[in-house]
Symmetry: C2
Amino acid sequence: MNKPKHHVFVCSSSRITGQQRGYCVKNDSVEIIQRFMMGIEEEDLTGDVMVTNTGCLGICDKGPIVIIYPEGVWYGSVSPDDVAEIIQSHLVGGKVVESLKI
Amino acid sequence: MNKPKHHVFVCSSSRITGQQRGYCVKNDSVEIIQRFMMGIEEEDLTGDVMVTNTGCLGICDKGPIVIIYPEGVWYGSVSPDDVAEIIQSHLVGGKVVESLKI
């Protein structure tokens, strides 16, 4: 299989009980995921970048949380409007967005 | 914040629409997640290893899927009975379980 160069994880507050409830989903994380998916397609990064929603990442007070592996960069208090910058700076340019890093 | 040395992602078939439906959850992925959580506590790896459930990882025919970052190792067709070996070999011993790797 072709592994992604960057794997973007976004908390969607999905519990293993099947519920979806928590800080991130209440603060537009589904919109964040959708913007990543659209932006990655627009930038022709499909194949290089994968986006996956997750359950709770344990630091809800710093949410919404986005993690990019294998770099292991954690972004916090991410809003849908920040997604374009993360894509351009981090995923296209290879430069971490310091203002959002936690 | 203290980042985990290993971040284990397990597909729980959690959709961003709030539904939980798919191959992995039908094939005991919630039990896989729970065994990772219990095993990590038993091995005193809490803090070093984080376990997070995810939405679909795109290769359902190879599920249930477990990914460990930052290594970027993907495991497929994982059963709850495989979890102890992944913990012992990979997370404790640093040795990838080749028989499950995809």
